[in-house]
Symmetry: C2
Subunit: 253 residues, 2 copies
Amino acid sequence: MPEFVLYHGWTSSASRKVRLCMAEKGLEYEGRHIELLSFEHHSDWFKKLNPSGKVPALLIDGVPFVESNIINEYLDEMYPEPSLMPTDPRLRYDVRMFTLYIDGTCLPAVQKHNWMGRMRPVAMKWTDEELEARLAAVPTEERRKVWYRMARDPYTDEELQTALDILIDMCDRIEDGVRSGGWIVGDNYSLADIAAVPYVRRVEELAPDALSAAERPGVADWWARIKARPAYAKAHIGGYDEQSDPDYRPPAV
Amino acid sequence: MPEFVLYHGWTSSASRKVRLCMAEKGLEYEGRHIELLSFEHHSDWFKKLNPSGKVPALLIDGVPFVESNIINEYLDEMYPEPSLMPTDPRLRYDVRMFTLYIDGTCLPAVQKHNWMGRMRPVAMKWTDEELEARLAAVPTEERRKVWYRMARDPYTDEELQTALDILIDMCDRIEDGVRSGGWIVGDNYSLADIAAVPYVRRVEELAPDALSAAERPGVADWWARIKARPAYAKAHIGGYDEQSDPDYRPPAV
Protein backbone atom coordinates (compact mmCIF):
# COMPACT_ATOMS: atom_id res chain seq x y z
CA MET A 1 0.00 0.00 0.00
CA PRO A 2 1.41 3.42 -0.90
CA GLU A 3 1.82 6.25 1.57
CA PHE A 4 -1.13 8.65 1.59
CA VAL A 5 -0.83 12.22 2.87
CA LEU A 6 -4.03 14.28 2.72
CA TYR A 7 -3.87 18.06 2.84
CA HIS A 8 -7.39 19.08 3.77
CA GLY A 9 -9.64 21.46 5.66
CA TRP A 10 -11.97 20.10 8.35
CA THR A 11 -14.90 22.22 7.09
CA SER A 12 -14.09 22.11 3.36
CA SER A 13 -16.82 20.24 1.44
CA ALA A 14 -14.35 18.88 -1.11
CA SER A 15 -12.03 17.68 1.68
CA ARG A 16 -14.95 16.02 3.44
CA LYS A 17 -15.80 14.11 0.26
CA VAL A 18 -12.30 12.69 -0.02
CA ARG A 19 -12.08 11.87 3.69
CA LEU A 20 -15.38 10.00 3.38
CA CYS A 21 -14.28 8.07 0.30
CA MET A 22 -11.01 7.05 1.97
CA ALA A 23 -12.86 6.01 5.12
CA GLU A 24 -15.24 3.83 3.07
CA LYS A 25 -12.25 2.21 1.37
CA GLY A 26 -10.40 1.71 4.64
CA LEU A 27 -7.45 3.72 3.30
CA GLU A 28 -5.30 5.11 6.11
CA TYR A 29 -3.59 8.44 5.60
CA GLU A 30 -1.59 11.04 7.37
CA GLY A 31 -3.84 14.09 7.57
CA ARG A 32 -2.32 17.55 7.38
CA HIS A 33 -4.83 20.22 8.17
CA ILE A 34 -4.59 23.40 6.12
CA GLU A 35 -5.70 26.42 8.11
CA LEU A 36 -7.63 28.40 5.51
CA LEU A 37 -7.59 31.60 7.56
CA SER A 38 -3.80 31.48 7.65
CA PHE A 39 -3.90 31.34 3.82
CA GLU A 40 -1.65 28.30 3.70
CA HIS A 41 -3.51 27.18 0.55
CA HIS A 42 -2.33 30.36 -1.21
CA SER A 43 1.30 29.82 -0.27
CA ASP A 44 3.82 28.92 -2.94
CA TRP A 45 4.58 25.52 -1.44
CA PHE A 46 0.91 24.53 -1.51
CA LYS A 47 0.34 25.86 -5.02
CA LYS A 48 3.13 23.51 -6.12
CA LEU A 49 0.87 20.67 -4.99
CA ASN A 50 -2.32 22.22 -6.37
CA PRO A 51 -1.86 25.14 -8.78
CA SER A 52 -5.49 26.18 -8.21
CA GLY A 53 -4.73 26.74 -4.49
CA LYS A 54 -7.65 24.66 -3.23
CA VAL A 55 -7.94 21.86 -0.69
CA PRO A 56 -7.82 18.93 -0.75
CA ALA A 57 -4.59 17.69 -2.27
CA LEU A 58 -3.80 14.00 -1.81
CA LEU A 59 -0.18 12.91 -2.02
CA ILE A 60 0.21 9.28 -3.02
CA ASP A 61 3.83 8.28 -2.54
CA GLY A 62 4.63 11.97 -2.92
CA VAL A 63 2.66 12.53 -6.15
CA PRO A 64 -0.17 15.10 -5.80
CA PHE A 65 -3.75 14.37 -6.84
CA VAL A 66 -6.35 17.15 -6.78
CA GLU A 67 -10.05 17.81 -7.48
CA SER A 68 -12.23 15.81 -5.13
CA ASN A 69 -14.50 14.09 -7.69
CA ILE A 70 -11.56 13.00 -9.81
CA ILE A 71 -9.56 11.88 -6.77
CA ASN A 72 -12.51 9.79 -5.61
CA GLU A 73 -13.02 8.17 -8.99
CA TYR A 74 -9.28 7.41 -9.10
CA LEU A 75 -9.36 5.87 -5.62
CA ASP A 76 -12.37 3.79 -6.62
CA GLU A 77 -10.50 2.45 -9.66
CA MET A 78 -7.27 1.77 -7.75
CA TYR A 79 -8.96 0.26 -4.68
CA PRO A 80 -12.15 -1.28 -6.02
CA GLU A 81 -13.40 -2.75 -2.73
CA PRO A 82 -15.96 -1.75 -1.65
CA SER A 83 -17.04 -0.46 -5.05
CA LEU A 84 -18.37 3.11 -5.04
CA MET A 85 -19.32 3.31 -8.73
CA PRO A 86 -22.09 1.39 -10.50
CA THR A 87 -21.05 -0.94 -13.31
CA ASP A 88 -23.89 0.06 -15.66
CA PRO A 89 -22.70 2.91 -17.96
CA ARG A 90 -26.05 4.72 -17.66
CA LEU A 91 -25.78 4.77 -13.85
CA ARG A 92 -22.11 5.81 -14.08
CA TYR A 93 -23.29 8.73 -16.24
CA ASP A 94 -25.86 9.57 -13.54
CA VAL A 95 -23.20 9.54 -10.79
CA ARG A 96 -20.95 11.85 -12.82
CA MET A 97 -23.82 14.22 -13.64
CA PHE A 98 -24.79 14.36 -9.97
CA THR A 99 -21.24 15.10 -8.81
CA LEU A 100 -20.97 17.79 -11.51
CA TYR A 101 -24.25 19.29 -10.30
CA ILE A 102 -22.94 19.29 -6.73
CA ASP A 103 -19.72 21.07 -7.74
CA GLY A 104 -21.27 23.44 -10.25
CA THR A 105 -24.45 24.42 -8.43
CA CYS A 106 -24.35 23.42 -4.76
CA LEU A 107 -20.73 24.34 -4.01
CA PRO A 108 -21.14 28.04 -4.92
CA ALA A 109 -24.34 28.05 -2.82
CA VAL A 110 -22.84 26.51 0.32
CA GLN A 111 -19.74 28.67 -0.04
CA LYS A 112 -21.79 31.82 0.31
CA HIS A 113 -22.92 30.70 3.75
CA ASN A 114 -19.57 29.25 4.77
CA TRP A 115 -17.52 32.23 3.68
CA MET A 116 -19.80 34.83 5.22
CA GLY A 117 -19.52 33.11 8.58
CA ARG A 118 -15.81 32.65 8.54
CA MET A 119 -13.91 34.61 5.91
CA ARG A 120 -15.92 37.83 5.96
CA PRO A 121 -15.01 38.88 9.56
CA VAL A 122 -11.33 38.57 8.66
CA ALA A 123 -11.38 39.98 5.14
CA MET A 124 -13.52 43.02 5.95
CA LYS A 125 -10.73 44.37 8.15
CA TRP A 126 -8.09 44.37 5.42
CA THR A 127 -6.77 47.70 4.20
CA ASP A 128 -6.72 48.22 0.44
CA GLU A 129 -3.02 47.31 0.45
CA GLU A 130 -3.63 44.08 2.38
CA LEU A 131 -6.52 43.21 0.07
CA GLU A 132 -4.36 43.73 -2.99
CA ALA A 133 -1.58 41.55 -1.57
CA ARG A 134 -4.05 38.81 -0.60
CA LEU A 135 -5.73 38.81 -4.01
CA ALA A 136 -2.37 38.65 -5.77
CA ALA A 137 -1.73 35.28 -4.09
CA VAL A 138 -5.08 33.76 -5.12
CA PRO A 139 -4.45 31.69 -8.26
CA THR A 140 -7.92 31.64 -9.83
CA GLU A 141 -10.16 34.47 -10.98
CA GLU A 142 -13.19 32.75 -9.49
CA ARG A 143 -11.66 32.68 -6.00
CA ARG A 144 -10.29 36.21 -6.31
CA LYS A 145 -13.87 37.37 -6.87
CA VAL A 146 -15.03 35.59 -3.71
CA TRP A 147 -12.26 37.13 -1.61
CA TYR A 148 -13.00 40.56 -3.03
CA ARG A 149 -16.64 40.18 -2.08
CA MET A 150 -15.72 39.07 1.44
CA ALA A 151 -13.55 42.14 1.86
CA ARG A 152 -15.67 44.83 0.24
CA ASP A 153 -19.03 43.64 -1.08
CA PRO A 154 -20.53 40.94 1.18
CA TYR A 155 -23.32 38.69 -0.03
CA THR A 156 -26.73 40.24 0.50
CA ASP A 157 -29.54 38.59 2.47
CA GLU A 158 -31.24 37.94 -0.85
CA GLU A 159 -28.17 36.16 -2.22
CA LEU A 160 -27.89 34.06 0.92
CA GLN A 161 -31.56 33.10 0.68
CA THR A 162 -31.16 32.16 -3.00
CA ALA A 163 -28.16 30.02 -2.02
CA LEU A 164 -30.16 28.30 0.71
CA ASP A 165 -32.99 27.68 -1.77
CA ILE A 166 -30.49 25.89 -4.03
CA LEU A 167 -29.52 23.59 -1.14
CA ILE A 168 -33.18 22.91 -0.34
CA ASP A 169 -33.76 22.09 -4.01
CA MET A 170 -30.83 19.66 -3.73
CA CYS A 171 -32.73 17.94 -0.91
CA ASP A 172 -35.73 17.57 -3.24
CA ARG A 173 -33.53 15.97 -5.86
CA ILE A 174 -32.11 13.58 -3.29
CA GLU A 175 -35.65 12.76 -2.13
CA ASP A 176 -36.50 11.71 -5.69
CA GLY A 177 -33.52 9.37 -5.76
CA VAL A 178 -33.65 7.79 -2.32
CA ARG A 179 -37.38 7.26 -1.84
CA SER A 180 -38.17 3.64 -1.04
CA GLY A 181 -34.90 3.02 0.72
CA GLY A 182 -32.47 3.36 -2.16
CA TRP A 183 -29.41 5.52 -2.67
CA ILE A 184 -29.02 8.63 -4.80
CA VAL A 185 -28.13 6.71 -7.98
CA GLY A 186 -29.43 3.18 -8.32
CA ASP A 187 -29.59 0.60 -5.56
CA ASN A 188 -26.12 1.04 -4.11
CA TYR A 189 -24.25 3.61 -2.08
CA SER A 190 -21.92 5.43 -4.48
CA LEU A 191 -19.74 8.47 -5.04
CA ALA A 192 -23.01 10.37 -5.63
CA ASP A 193 -24.01 9.85 -1.99
CA ILE A 194 -20.51 10.79 -0.87
CA ALA A 195 -20.67 14.00 -2.92
CA ALA A 196 -23.97 14.98 -1.28
CA VAL A 197 -23.01 14.30 2.35
CA PRO A 198 -21.04 17.51 3.10
CA TYR A 199 -23.87 19.61 1.65
CA VAL A 200 -26.64 17.82 3.52
CA ARG A 201 -24.54 18.20 6.69
CA ARG A 202 -24.68 21.97 6.18
CA VAL A 203 -28.43 21.90 5.51
CA GLU A 204 -28.74 20.09 8.84
CA GLU A 205 -27.24 23.20 10.45
CA LEU A 206 -28.78 25.93 8.27
CA ALA A 207 -32.32 24.58 7.77
CA PRO A 208 -32.75 21.35 9.79
CA ASP A 209 -36.48 21.03 9.09
CA ALA A 210 -35.64 20.32 5.45
CA LEU A 211 -34.29 16.93 6.56
CA SER A 212 -37.23 16.03 8.80
CA ALA A 213 -39.29 12.90 8.16
CA ALA A 214 -42.35 15.14 7.93
CA GLU A 215 -40.91 17.18 5.09
CA ARG A 216 -38.78 14.64 3.25
CA PRO A 217 -39.20 11.07 4.52
CA GLY A 218 -36.78 9.62 1.97
CA VAL A 219 -34.03 12.08 2.83
CA ALA A 220 -34.58 11.60 6.57
CA ASP A 221 -34.22 7.85 6.19
CA TRP A 222 -31.24 8.15 3.81
CA TRP A 223 -29.50 10.58 6.17
CA ALA A 224 -29.97 8.20 9.11
CA ARG A 225 -28.47 5.39 7.00
CA ILE A 226 -25.54 7.62 6.00
CA LYS A 227 -24.81 8.53 9.61
CA ALA A 228 -24.98 4.91 10.70
CA ARG A 229 -22.10 3.98 8.39
CA PRO A 230 -18.80 3.61 10.27
CA ALA A 231 -17.09 5.72 7.58
CA TYR A 232 -19.23 8.73 8.49
CA ALA A 233 -17.76 8.91 11.99
CA LYS A 234 -14.29 8.12 10.72
CA ALA A 235 -14.41 11.01 8.20
CA HIS A 236 -15.11 13.58 10.96
CA ILE A 237 -17.79 15.60 9.21
CA GLY A 238 -18.48 17.67 12.29
CA GLY A 239 -20.20 20.94 13.13
CA TYR A 240 -19.16 23.84 10.96
CA ASP A 241 -18.49 26.23 13.85
CA GLU A 242 -16.80 23.57 15.94
CA GLN A 243 -14.47 22.56 13.12
CA SER A 244 -13.75 26.19 12.19
CA ASP A 245 -11.96 26.61 15.51
CA PRO A 246 -8.19 26.51 14.86
CA ASP A 247 -7.89 24.42 18.04
CA TYR A 248 -10.29 21.74 16.75
CA ARG A 249 -8.94 18.21 17.03
CA PRO A 250 -10.99 15.21 15.89
CA PRO A 251 -12.21 12.75 18.52
CA ALA A 252 -10.83 9.22 18.52
CA VAL A 253 -13.04 6.82 16.51
CA MET B 1 -27.98 0.01 -32.17
CA PRO B 2 -30.17 2.71 -30.58
CA GLU B 3 -31.31 5.82 -32.42
CA PHE B 4 -29.05 8.82 -31.84
CA VAL B 5 -30.24 12.39 -32.34
CA LEU B 6 -27.65 15.09 -31.65
CA TYR B 7 -28.74 18.67 -30.98
CA HIS B 8 -25.60 20.68 -31.57
CA GLY B 9 -24.04 23.88 -32.84
CA TRP B 10 -21.53 23.75 -35.69
CA THR B 11 -19.18 26.18 -33.94
CA SER B 12 -19.83 25.09 -30.34
CA SER B 13 -16.69 23.58 -28.79
CA ALA B 14 -18.68 21.15 -26.66
CA SER B 15 -20.70 20.04 -29.70
CA ARG B 16 -17.52 19.56 -31.70
CA LYS B 17 -16.13 17.28 -28.97
CA VAL B 18 -19.17 15.02 -29.09
CA ARG B 19 -19.28 14.98 -32.91
CA LEU B 20 -15.62 13.96 -32.91
CA CYS B 21 -16.13 11.21 -30.34
CA MET B 22 -19.09 9.80 -32.29
CA ALA B 23 -17.12 9.94 -35.52
CA GLU B 24 -14.23 8.02 -33.92
CA LYS B 25 -16.67 5.39 -32.68
CA GLY B 26 -18.43 5.17 -36.04
CA LEU B 27 -21.76 6.06 -34.40
CA GLU B 28 -24.25 7.45 -36.90
CA TYR B 29 -26.70 10.08 -35.73
CA GLU B 30 -29.34 12.44 -36.97
CA GLY B 31 -27.90 15.90 -36.42
CA ARG B 32 -30.23 18.76 -35.56
CA HIS B 33 -28.48 22.08 -35.69
CA ILE B 34 -29.43 24.59 -33.01
CA GLU B 35 -29.14 28.14 -34.28
CA LEU B 36 -27.68 29.94 -31.28
CA LEU B 37 -28.56 33.38 -32.62
CA SER B 38 -32.22 32.35 -32.82
CA PHE B 39 -31.98 31.43 -29.10
CA GLU B 40 -33.42 27.99 -29.69
CA HIS B 41 -31.25 26.72 -26.82
CA HIS B 42 -33.13 29.06 -24.44
CA SER B 43 -36.54 27.85 -25.58
CA ASP B 44 -38.68 25.80 -23.22
CA TRP B 45 -38.63 22.74 -25.44
CA PHE B 46 -34.82 22.67 -25.49
CA LYS B 47 -34.52 23.32 -21.76
CA LYS B 48 -36.61 20.19 -21.26
CA LEU B 49 -33.76 18.28 -22.91
CA ASN B 50 -31.02 20.23 -21.14
CA PRO B 51 -32.10 22.38 -18.19
CA SER B 52 -28.85 24.34 -18.42
CA GLY B 53 -29.82 25.48 -21.94
CA LYS B 54 -26.52 24.51 -23.53
CA VAL B 55 -25.62 22.49 -26.60
CA PRO B 56 -25.02 19.67 -27.17
CA ALA B 57 -27.80 17.37 -26.04
CA LEU B 58 -27.67 13.82 -27.31
CA LEU B 59 -30.91 11.85 -27.43
CA ILE B 60 -30.37 8.11 -27.25
CA ASP B 61 -33.65 6.36 -28.03
CA GLY B 62 -35.32 9.57 -26.88
CA VAL B 63 -33.47 9.90 -23.56
CA PRO B 64 -31.37 13.10 -23.28
CA PHE B 65 -27.70 13.05 -22.32
CA VAL B 66 -25.85 16.33 -21.71
CA GLU B 67 -22.41 17.71 -20.76
CA SER B 68 -19.88 16.85 -23.44
CA ASN B 69 -17.19 15.25 -21.24
CA ILE B 70 -19.70 13.04 -19.48
CA ILE B 71 -21.46 12.14 -22.74
CA ASN B 72 -18.11 11.14 -24.24
CA GLU B 73 -17.13 9.00 -21.28
CA TYR B 74 -20.57 7.35 -21.43
CA LEU B 75 -20.20 6.65 -25.16
CA ASP B 76 -16.75 5.20 -24.54
CA GLU B 77 -18.14 2.83 -21.92
CA MET B 78 -21.16 1.80 -24.02
CA TYR B 79 -19.23 1.46 -27.29
CA PRO B 80 -15.73 0.50 -26.23
CA GLU B 81 -14.23 0.10 -29.73
CA PRO B 82 -12.04 1.92 -30.48
CA SER B 83 -11.21 2.67 -26.86
CA LEU B 84 -10.81 6.37 -26.08
CA MET B 85 -9.84 6.00 -22.40
CA PRO B 86 -6.62 4.48 -21.03
CA THR B 87 -6.97 1.43 -18.80
CA ASP B 88 -4.41 2.58 -16.21
CA PRO B 89 -6.20 4.49 -13.40
CA ARG B 90 -3.43 7.09 -13.21
CA LEU B 91 -3.81 7.88 -16.93
CA ARG B 92 -7.59 7.92 -16.58
CA TYR B 93 -7.11 10.50 -13.82
CA ASP B 94 -4.91 12.49 -16.20
CA VAL B 95 -7.55 12.42 -18.97
CA ARG B 96 -10.24 13.62 -16.54
CA MET B 97 -8.01 16.37 -15.16
CA PHE B 98 -7.20 17.52 -18.69
CA THR B 99 -10.86 17.62 -19.75
CA LEU B 100 -11.72 19.51 -16.55
CA TYR B 101 -8.94 22.00 -17.33
CA ILE B 102 -10.31 22.44 -20.85
CA ASP B 103 -13.83 23.11 -19.57
CA GLY B 104 -12.85 25.20 -16.57
CA THR B 105 -10.05 27.29 -18.05
CA CYS B 106 -10.00 27.11 -21.85
CA LEU B 107 -13.76 27.24 -22.49
CA PRO B 108 -14.24 30.66 -20.80
CA ALA B 109 -11.20 31.90 -22.75
CA VAL B 110 -12.34 30.74 -26.18
CA GLN B 111 -15.87 31.95 -25.46
CA LYS B 112 -14.66 35.52 -25.09
CA HIS B 113 -13.37 35.46 -28.66
CA ASN B 114 -16.29 33.48 -30.06
CA TRP B 115 -18.99 35.56 -28.42
CA MET B 116 -17.46 38.92 -29.29
CA GLY B 117 -17.39 37.94 -32.95
CA ARG B 118 -20.89 36.59 -33.12
CA MET B 119 -23.14 37.44 -30.18
CA ARG B 120 -21.97 40.97 -29.49
CA PRO B 121 -23.20 42.51 -32.80
CA VAL B 122 -26.68 41.13 -32.08
CA ALA B 123 -26.89 41.73 -28.34
CA MET B 124 -25.57 45.29 -28.43
CA LYS B 125 -28.66 46.37 -30.37
CA TRP B 126 -31.15 45.15 -27.77
CA THR B 127 -33.22 47.70 -25.90
CA ASP B 128 -33.30 47.38 -22.12
CA GLU B 129 -36.66 45.60 -22.42
CA GLU B 130 -35.32 43.12 -24.97
CA LEU B 131 -32.25 42.50 -22.83
CA GLU B 132 -34.39 41.82 -19.79
CA ALA B 133 -36.57 39.36 -21.71
CA ARG B 134 -33.54 37.58 -23.18
CA LEU B 135 -31.82 37.27 -19.80
CA ALA B 136 -34.99 35.91 -18.20
CA ALA B 137 -34.81 32.93 -20.58
CA VAL B 138 -31.16 32.11 -19.82
CA PRO B 139 -31.19 29.32 -17.22
CA THR B 140 -27.78 29.79 -15.60
CA GLU B 141 -26.26 32.77 -13.82
CA GLU B 142 -22.94 32.21 -15.55
CA ARG B 143 -24.50 32.49 -19.03
CA ARG B 144 -26.70 35.44 -17.99
CA LYS B 145 -23.49 37.28 -17.11
CA VAL B 146 -22.03 36.57 -20.54
CA TRP B 147 -25.14 37.79 -22.34
CA TYR B 148 -25.23 40.92 -20.18
CA ARG B 149 -21.64 41.64 -21.10
CA MET B 150 -22.34 41.11 -24.81
CA ALA B 151 -25.23 43.59 -24.62
CA ARG B 152 -23.78 46.30 -22.40
CA ASP B 153 -20.20 45.72 -21.27
CA PRO B 154 -18.15 44.02 -24.02
CA TYR B 155 -14.86 42.31 -23.24
CA THR B 156 -11.93 44.72 -23.35
CA ASP B 157 -8.85 44.26 -25.53
CA GLU B 158 -6.97 43.36 -22.37
CA GLU B 159 -9.47 40.63 -21.50
CA LEU B 160 -9.31 39.25 -25.03
CA GLN B 161 -5.52 39.19 -24.89
CA THR B 162 -5.58 37.41 -21.52
CA ALA B 163 -7.98 34.88 -23.01
CA LEU B 164 -5.71 34.30 -25.98
CA ASP B 165 -2.75 33.88 -23.61
CA ILE B 166 -4.67 31.10 -21.88
CA LEU B 167 -5.12 29.30 -25.21
CA ILE B 168 -1.43 29.72 -26.03
CA ASP B 169 -0.57 28.31 -22.62
CA MET B 170 -2.82 25.36 -23.48
CA CYS B 171 -0.63 24.78 -26.55
CA ASP B 172 2.43 24.68 -24.27
CA ARG B 173 0.76 22.06 -22.11
CA ILE B 174 -0.12 20.01 -25.18
CA GLU B 175 3.48 20.34 -26.39
CA ASP B 176 4.67 18.79 -23.12
CA GLY B 177 2.35 15.83 -23.64
CA VAL B 178 2.80 15.11 -27.32
CA ARG B 179 6.51 15.63 -27.80
CA SER B 180 8.14 12.58 -29.36
CA GLY B 181 5.08 11.55 -31.31
CA GLY B 182 2.72 10.67 -28.47
CA TRP B 183 -0.75 11.85 -27.58
CA ILE B 184 -1.84 14.26 -24.84
CA VAL B 185 -2.15 11.55 -22.19
CA GLY B 186 -0.01 8.45 -22.56
CA ASP B 187 0.70 6.65 -25.81
CA ASN B 188 -2.80 6.51 -27.23
CA TYR B 189 -5.31 8.92 -28.72
CA SER B 190 -7.95 9.55 -26.03
CA LEU B 191 -10.80 11.79 -24.89
CA ALA B 192 -8.08 14.25 -23.83
CA ASP B 193 -7.07 14.77 -27.46
CA ILE B 194 -10.73 15.05 -28.46
CA ALA B 195 -11.30 17.69 -25.77
CA ALA B 196 -8.39 19.77 -27.07
CA VAL B 197 -9.26 19.67 -30.77
CA PRO B 198 -11.97 22.40 -30.89
CA TYR B 199 -9.69 24.76 -28.95
CA VAL B 200 -6.63 24.15 -31.07
CA ARG B 201 -8.83 24.65 -34.14
CA ARG B 202 -9.62 28.16 -32.84
CA VAL B 203 -5.94 28.87 -32.11
CA GLU B 204 -5.29 27.94 -35.73
CA GLU B 205 -7.55 30.86 -36.67
CA LEU B 206 -6.67 33.35 -33.92
CA ALA B 207 -2.90 32.82 -33.63
CA PRO B 208 -1.74 30.32 -36.28
CA ASP B 209 1.97 30.76 -35.56
CA ALA B 210 1.43 29.12 -32.17
CA LEU B 211 0.93 25.82 -34.02
CA SER B 212 3.94 26.16 -36.32
CA ALA B 213 6.71 23.57 -36.33
CA ALA B 214 9.14 26.38 -35.53
CA GLU B 215 7.32 27.36 -32.35
CA ARG B 216 5.94 24.03 -31.15
CA PRO B 217 7.17 21.04 -33.16
CA GLY B 218 5.26 18.54 -31.02
CA VAL B 219 1.96 20.37 -31.41
CA ALA B 220 2.52 20.86 -35.16
CA ASP B 221 3.09 17.13 -35.61
CA TRP B 222 0.18 16.18 -33.30
CA TRP B 223 -2.16 18.57 -35.14
CA ALA B 224 -1.19 17.05 -38.50
CA ARG B 225 -1.89 13.58 -37.09
CA ILE B 226 -5.26 14.76 -35.71
CA LYS B 227 -6.29 16.21 -39.06
CA ALA B 228 -5.27 13.06 -40.89
CA ARG B 229 -7.77 10.99 -38.92
CA PRO B 230 -10.93 10.24 -40.91
CA ALA B 231 -13.02 11.24 -37.87
CA TYR B 232 -11.72 14.80 -38.06
CA ALA B 233 -13.26 15.35 -41.49
CA LYS B 234 -16.40 13.49 -40.50
CA ALA B 235 -16.93 15.71 -37.43
CA HIS B 236 -16.96 18.90 -39.56
CA ILE B 237 -14.81 21.10 -37.34
CA GLY B 238 -14.72 23.88 -39.89
CA GLY B 239 -13.87 27.56 -39.97
CA TYR B 240 -15.54 29.61 -37.27
CA ASP B 241 -16.86 32.31 -39.59
CA GLU B 242 -17.88 29.84 -42.26
CA GLN B 243 -19.84 27.70 -39.77
CA SER B 244 -21.39 30.77 -38.12
CA ASP B 245 -23.32 31.43 -41.30
CA PRO B 246 -26.94 30.29 -40.81
CA ASP B 247 -26.78 28.92 -44.36
CA TYR B 248 -23.77 26.69 -43.61
CA ARG B 249 -24.24 23.08 -44.68
CA PRO B 250 -21.49 20.50 -44.13
CA PRO B 251 -19.77 19.05 -47.19
CA ALA B 252 -20.23 15.38 -48.00
CA VAL B 253 -17.46 13.22 -46.48
